[in-house]
Point group: C2
Chain length 460, copies 2
C-alpha cells in the first residue's frame, strides 16, 4: 500500500494527497528500486541504451495528431509558464522518443533505447489507474523486422521469470485485424475507430461493443461477421491452428501481411527460445491509434490483477508522420508498468526475492560511552562496503528495540570494558546469538556481513 | 552537452525544446545513470533509505510559508487540473519530506532517507540554472546532534573521492552569524533578510551587498561592523584560528551556541576521518530562509565551474512549523546536483571512471546467412550476463562499421563455413585481432567478456 492515503481528504493537520498520486516509504521504495534496477539490467543485456527526456514540453508538439493526438490529450495536464507559453506534462514516453529522434537526425539506426520515468494523466482514478506513475519503456527505431518484436517477447519472458512472476503474453497483428475488417467491408477510415471499440471487449462485453460499433455506423451484418471470425479463430486451440484458420480466410493483402508477419514472428520467438506462454489472440487491439503491426500485452497468470503488467507493439508510422519526413522510421517497443509489477510482487509477498527486501543498514553500531572508537568502526564498516549506521545517546535495550523494529540484521555493541580487552560484541538480531570479535580481526569478521550487501553495485 | 539545443527555437521541422529543459542521449545518460547509481550506493552505505514522493502537489500545501514560502513560490510552476484544483510541480525535495513525515506520524526517528528526483523552477535560465533538473537529497530527521552534520560531510568527501573530483567544502553556522548580527544590534526580525543579502557576496560584491543592506534599513555602522568581523575571521588561516577569534567576540548565547556547535562538529568530522579540505567560512549563508544551525556548500577545487556541486545544512524548525506540531523535528541534509556533478565529470572527461563509460552492448553478433544459430548464440550470451545485440541484414563491412561507430568492443561473425567446422570468429574491435572460438567452448570464451559487464548489478 502506498504511504499516502489515496484520497484528497486531509488527515487532521491540513495535509492531504491528490487522488491517484502516490508517495512511497522506504519499505516500499526498496522494492521499487529493485524492480527498476532489475528491468535496467535486462534492458542493457538486450542492448538497449538509456536516454532521458524532459517531463515539460510544448503543448503544440504533444498535441500533434501523430503523437497520439486527441485520444490522449483529453487526459493531459496543461499549464502556462510565466512567459505565458502553453506547456504540458508528458503523458507517455513514446512521443518523447519520436521527438528526440526528430531533434537528433544523425542518430544511427537501428536505435535501441530504454527510458524509465514519470508520466502524468489527468483522468479518472481507480484500480490500476493513476494520475502520476512510472513507465519503463524499451523501443527500437529503424528496423521493420519482426525479429525486433520477437526480441521484446524474449526480453519480457526473461524479466518476469527473474521476478518469479508467472505470466502469459497475448499477441496479435493490427494488419491482420484490419485485413479482416477489409474482408467484411469496413471502410478504411473507420478501421481504427472500430478497433478501439473492440479493445473494450473485456470491459463492456460483446453487447457493449456491438452497441458502440452500431453507433459508429457499422452494420449489424458486418458486426456479426467480426464476431463470427474472431470466435472461430478463438475456438482453435494452438497458435498454429488459429493461424491456419486465419490464413484460410485471408483474402486481401492486409490480412495476408498480418498472417505472414505473425508466422515469421513466431518463428523468431522459437529461435530465440522465447518459450513462455505466448497466445495468439485475434481480439487483441491495444487502446491507441498509432499501433500498426504486431501488438502484445503481458498478463499475470494467476492472481487478482486484471490489468496488464506490460504492453506494446509496432508503431511504424508515428515518427515519419510526426516529423513530416520522407524517411521511414519503423519502430516497435513495450512499456513495463512499475506500479503493476510492484502490485504483482506484493501479491506474492512471502516469496519476494531476497534482493528486493534487503535491509538498509545491515549493521547498527551502539556506542556505550565509546563514541570515538565507535565512529572509527562505523567508517571502517562503510569503507569495506557494509551499509552501517550508529545510534548514540540511547540505552542499550532501547537501541536493540530500534534495531528490531527496523529489521536491521546485525548490531554491534561497543562497550568500554570490551574495548579494553580489544574486542566488541556482534549480535545476530534474528537468532539473538552474540559473538565476541577481536578488534584486530574486525575487518575479516565484518567482511562476512558483506553478503547482506544492502546496496547497489556492491564492489567485490 | 545536452542532446537538445538549449533554446526555444525549432530546428526546421517544428520541433524545439523549452529553455532550461534538457534531454539526454545514451552517451550522456550512461554517465548520468552511473552518477545516480554511485550516489545511491554511498547513501545506502551510510544507512539512508530510499523514498519516493510525488511531483504533483496541492498549491496551498507548498505555499505554506514554513515550506520555503514566498522566496521559492515566485519560481514555482502552477497548474489547474480538470477538477479545477490548484496544483504545483515540486520545486525541491525537502518540503516533500516534511509533508511525508506529517502524513506518516508513526515513522520511527531518527529517519534517514534519500530521494533522487526531478524538480521544477520557472525562473531565469543560465549557467547552472535549469527549469527542470534532478536533485539527489539525503536528510536525517529526528536528531539534533552535529554528528549527523559531520556524517554528511564524511559522505560528501567519500562520494567526490569516488568520482575522482577534487572538492573543498565551506561550512558555517547560522547561529554564529545571527549571534554576530545580535552583537552588532541588528533586530531579530531583520536577521534572515540581512543574511540573504550577504549570500549574494560572490554575485554582487561587497559594494552590492552594502547597498542592499542599507536599502533594508541597516545602518552604515552596523554594516561596517559586519564586514570588519567577517574580514577579521577570514584573515585567520586555519579553522582553529578562525574559531578562536570568533569565540573571542561571541558575547551572546546565539553566537556561543554557534561556536560550540562548530567545535563539536569539527571534532566529529575528525573522529569520522572526514579529512578532506573543510573550510570554516564565516560569510557562508545559503540562499534559503529555513536553515538554522550548521550549513555547508561543496565546490570544485579546480575548474571553471563556480556553482556548487552539493549544498545543505540544518533545518531544525521547518517540519514542526509546517505541521503546526508541538513536537520537535530537528533535521539536516544535503542536496547533490546531478547536473553539476555531470558537468564536473565532463570537464575531466579524459579520466572518466571506466564504469561511467561502459558500452552497451559489449558484443555484436553478425549473422552471415546463419540466423537461427546466431540467435541461439545471442541468447546464450545474454543468459550468462553479457550485454549483446544482433545486426542482421547488413553486409559484413557495414556491420563492422556500425560496431566501430557505436564503440561496441567485440563483434562475432557467425558464418556458414565456420559453423560447419564448429566455430565462430570473435573480433576485438579495439585491436582488430580475431580469434576462432569453438562452439563447444563458447560459454567459457564468452565468460571472459563478462568483465565488460555493461549493466547494473551484474550477477557473478
Amino acid at each position: 500500500m502506498a504511504a499516502d492515503a489515496d484520497n484528497d481528504d486531509d488527515i487532521g493537520n491540513g495535509l492531504r494527497d491528490i487522488k491517484g498520486v502516490q508517495s512511497f516509504l522506504p519499505s516500499e521504495q526498496m522494492t521499487r528500486e529493485y524492480i527498476a534496477d532489475t528491468l535496467k539490467r535486462h534492458f542493457r543485456l538486450y542492448g538497449y541504451r538509456p536516454i532521458e527526456t524532459s517531463i515539460l514540453d510544448f503543448y503544440d508538439i504533444a498535441a500533434s495528431k501523430y503523437a497520439g493526438g486527441a485520444e490522449i490529450l483529453k487526459e493531459t495536464y496543461r499549464l502556462k509558464d510565466q512567459g505565458n507559453r502553453d506547456l504540458i506534462l508528458r503523458y507517455e514516453l513514446t512521443f518523447k522518443l519520436a521527438k528526440l529522434i526528430g531533434m537528433n537526425p544523425n542518430l544511427r539506426m537501428p536505435f535501441k533505447r530504454y527510458e524509465i520515468g514519470k508520466v502524468f494523466r489527468d483522468g479518472p482514478t481507480g484500480t490500476g489507474r493513476l494520475r502520476e506513475f512510472t513507465q519503463c519503456d524499451v523501443d527500437v527505431v529503424g528496423t521493420a523486422s519482426t525479429l525486433a518484436d520477437a526480441e521484446i517477447i524474449a526480453l519480457a519472458f526473461d524479466i518476469f521469470r527473474d521476478f518469479g512472476i508467472g505470466v502469459y503474453i497475448e499477441v496479435n497483428s493490427r494488419n491482420l485485424m484490419f485485413g479482416i475488417f477489409e474482408r467484411l467491408g469496413i471502410p478504411e477510415r473507420n478501421r481504427i475507430d472500430a478497433a478501439l471499440s473492440l479493445d473494450k471487449l473485456l470491459k463492456i462485453g460483446e453487447s457493449g461493443v456491438r452497441k458502440e460499433l452500431l453507433d459508429k455506423g457499422i452494420s449489424k451484418d458486418i458486426i456479426d461477421g467480426i464476431f463470427k471470425i474472431l470466435g472461430e479463430a478463438d475456438s482453435r486451440k494452438s497458435n498454429e491452428e488459429k493461424l491456419e484458420y486465419l490464413e484460410s480466410i485471408a483474402n486481401n493483402s492486409l490480412a495476408k501481411t498480418g498472417v505472414a508477419e505473425l508466422k515469421e514472428f513466431f518463428g523468431f520467438c522459437a529461435s530465440m527460445h522465447a518459450t513462455g506462454d505466448l497466445r495468439l489472440t485475434p481480439t487483441l487491439v491495444r487502446g491507441l491509434g498509432y499501433y500498426t503491426g504486431i501488438i502484445y500485452e503481458v498478463y499475470l497468470e494467476k492472481g487478482k490483477m486484471k490489468s496488464t503488467l506490460a504492453a506494446g507493439g509496432r508503431w511504424d508510422h508515428m515518427i515519419k508522420d510526426f516529423l513530416k519526413s520522407d524517411r521511414e522510421y519503423p519502430a516497435t517497443g513495450i512499456t513495463f508498468g512499475l506500479d503493476s509489477i510492484y502490485a504483482a510482487l506484493q501479491e506474492k509477498k512471502a516469496s519476494l526475492p531476497e534482493a528486493a527486501a534487503r535491509s538498509v543498514p545491515v549493521l547498527l553500531i551502539i556506542p556505550v560511552d565509546t563514541m570515538e572508537e565507535s565512529l572509527k568502526i562505523l567508517q571502517q564498516s562503510r569503507g569495506i562496503g557494509i551499509s552501517a549506521d550508529i545510534l548514540p545517546g540511547k540505552k542499550l535495550t532501547k537501541a536493540l528495540e530500534y534495531a528490531n523494529s527496523e529489521s536491521i540484521p546485525y548490531t554491534m555493541v561497543v562497550g568500554k570494558k570490551e574495548l579494553e580487552i580489544g574486542s566488541v560484541k556482534l549480535r545476530d538480531m534474528h537468532t539473538g546469538r552474540e559473538r565476541e570479535i577481536s578488534l584486530s580481526a574486525l575487518k575479516s569478521s565484518l567482511t562476512l556481513l558483506k553478503d547482506y550487501g544492502a546496496h547497489l553495485g556492491a564492489e567485490s
